[in-house]
């Protein structure tokens, strides 16, 4: 049981100040921008909730948000089950374990723009490995700079390549924490491998899976650099996700008002989802 101690605040103070400087001041600025219009030179005009109204009724915003949600859904549906399957098939002991883990973690350590560039040259038609295989060896017409469907498939594959390991590592950590005695008991009872999974492994993985889904949801919902480097949001607007649109408006066109309004809506979605997951995660802590 934790003891009540208000002096603990002093321990938290440095973190609080640093994060407040980084989060609170920018957030206030964003709120200020979102209700005003500017033509540069720090001259601002009151615009009320106009930006929000425009944004909520604009096709462009709906489309970007829709694409973002679709992308995140696809990613979660592929990466979570795939991650579980791979984690279950991993060796539990032996010299191959660290080798597997290090190799699997490698994609996550590559700077995000390098990931984008890497997949770009990997998929170039005629001279990239994947592009060559698809077009010349398999005879499938594949060019992600022209075909929106190919662009989507490529981005999803890229994200699966980049982040499935996170799910694998989390589930694996959950699995190795199960004592051998559980498996032996299940063997004596003659349990099928499905019921071992359902009643021993899955419950043990529940908490790490929640973390995995939370992290994967958030990071795919915020994805920017990789997609921007790979497709720049194209062809057309087919891969312009919310974050890409936001940076386009904020830094490309320097429309502070609409960009700020969009940031706040984006942030409201993130807040709600974080809260849901956090509540789920800590629900059992109190018992």
């Amino acid at each position: 049981m934790k003891t009540q101690n208000q002096k603990a605040w002093f321990f938290v103070l440095p973190v609080l100040l640093l994060v407040a400087f980084n989060a609170l001041i920018p957030m206030m600025t964003v709120v200020n921008y979102s209700v005003q219009e500017t033509f540069g030179n720090n001259v601002f005009f009151w615009h009320g909730v106009g930006w929000f109204e425009d944004l909520l009724n604009s096709e462009r915003f709906h489309a970007a948000l829709g694409r973002q949600i679709l992308f995140t859904t696809i990613i979660l549906l592929i990466e979570i089950p795939l991650g579980i399957v791979i984690a279950l098939a991993m060796p539990r002991k032996g010299i191959w374990v660290p080798v597997c883990l290090v190799l699997m973690a490698l994609p996550m350590l590559i700077p995000w723009n390098v990931v984008g560039a890497m997949w770009n040259i990997f998929t170039l038609p005629d001279i990239g490995l994947l592009g060559y295989l698809m077009n010349t060896t398999l005879g499938i017409d594949y060019d992600m700079t022209q075909d929106p469907f190919a662009a989507w498939v490529t981005i999803v594959t890229m994200d699966v390549w980049h982040w499935t390991s996170l799910v694998v590592l989390l589930c694996y950590a959950g699995l190795v924490s199960i004592p051998d005695a559980y498996y032996q008991a299940a063997k004596i009872d003659g349990a099928s491998s499905w019921s071992v999974f359902r009643y021993i492994q899955l419950p043990k993985m529940k908490q790490v899976l929640t973390i995995a889904i939370l992290l994967r949801f958030m990071d795919s919902f915020n994805i920017y650099t990789e997609v921007f480097v790979m497709t720049g949001g194209g062809p057309g607007n087919s891969t312009t996700f919310l974050s890409i649109d936001l940076v386009k408006i904020a830094l490309g066109q320097f429309d502070l008002g609409p960009a700020a309004a969009m940031s706040l809506i984006y942030f409201a979605i993130t807040l709600l989802v974080s809260w849901l997951f956090y509540t789920l995660m800590t629900k059992d802590d109190g018992k």
Partner: protein, 265 residues
């Protein structure tokens, strides 16, 4: 060999393919790359690497990245350690709310912060310095470090603290000589994650710097687009960015699974 070990092998093969292609490209001449498909470099060349190591704007970009990443890791760990201790040992006013608020900063999209960060760091005169990027990355790295360290610290029994106090240890002495060694795996893992997320982030790093503190990631995007299609050079620069991560991961290889679970298993 059992049939199910095929799954991880296939998966790792899938992971290695694009990386192989990047490395193979980096040893090719631009001519060879553009002239057609070849699985292995036909005319093996070190030229791309030589260009990077002889051009100051290239190798300084690497140094810049390493400077701000290291700064960020040190700052994040130093302020996260006491905070994580407070969260794992005490109940205090607003503790859960505070923890949640920290977490939301890890989850907030960087795109939201780009513009105000640019304004904020210009206003305080830190624009285009290493410390600006290091501080900006604290936004998501401190919450993560607190989260990981709290998980590891909660795994240390509270009796350890109490025994030390009974033995007459002062708090700083206890923390440094007894507690830190007990969670050194956690500190290592947290440092690894701070390094990793600061190293891979581009959007903030690029927009908070111009010349003096320009990170490698920004240098890459510029050269790749302005000088036409220098794919070989791009591939070589990309290959070099994988190396620091690979080195750091080697040190925490035994804790990596637990580390990704944020110490919470």
């Amino acid at each position: 060999m059992r049939k199910r070990s095929l799954i991880p092998i296939l998966y790792i093969l899938f992971l290695m393919l694009p990386i192989y292609w990047l490395i193979a490209m980096s040893f090719k001449t631009t001519n060879e790359i553009l002239s057609g498909f070849s699985l292995f470099p036909q005319t093996f060349t070190w030229d791309n690497y030589i260009t990077i190591f002889t051009d100051p704007s290239w190798y300084w970009a690497y140094v810049n990245s390493i400077i701000y990443v290291s700064l960020n890791t040190v700052i994040s760990i130093c302020v996260a350690l006491p905070a994580a201790y407070a969260f794992s040992r005490y109940r205090f006013l607003g503790d859960k709310t505070l923890f949640f608020w920290l977490l939301t900063n890890r989850m907030a999209p960087a795109a939201v912060f780009v513009l105000p960060f640019f304004q904020l760091y210009s206003a305080v005169g830190l624009f285009d310095t290493h410390i600006a990027v290091a501080l900006a990355h604290c936004l998501f790295n401190i919450p993560l470090a607190v989260w990981i360290l709290e998980g590891f610290m909660s795994g240390v029994p509270k009796e350890l603290d109490e025994t030390a106090y009974i033995d007459g240890y002062s708090f700083p002495r206890f923390f440094i000589t007894i507690f830190l060694p007990a969670i050194k795996a956690g500190v290592g893992v947290a440092a690894f994650f701070c390094f990793m997320f600061s190293w891979v982030e581009l959007l903030l790093a690029k927009n908070l710097t111009a010349v003096y503190a320009k990170p490698i990631a920004a240098e890459m995007t510029k050269t790749a687009s302005s000088a036409g299609y220098e794919l070989g050079l791009l591939a070589a620069a990309g290959t070099l960015t994988i190396i620091p991560g690979a080195i750091v991961i080697y040190f925490v290889r035994n804790y990596i699974a637990k580390g990704f679970a944020l110490g919470r298993v």
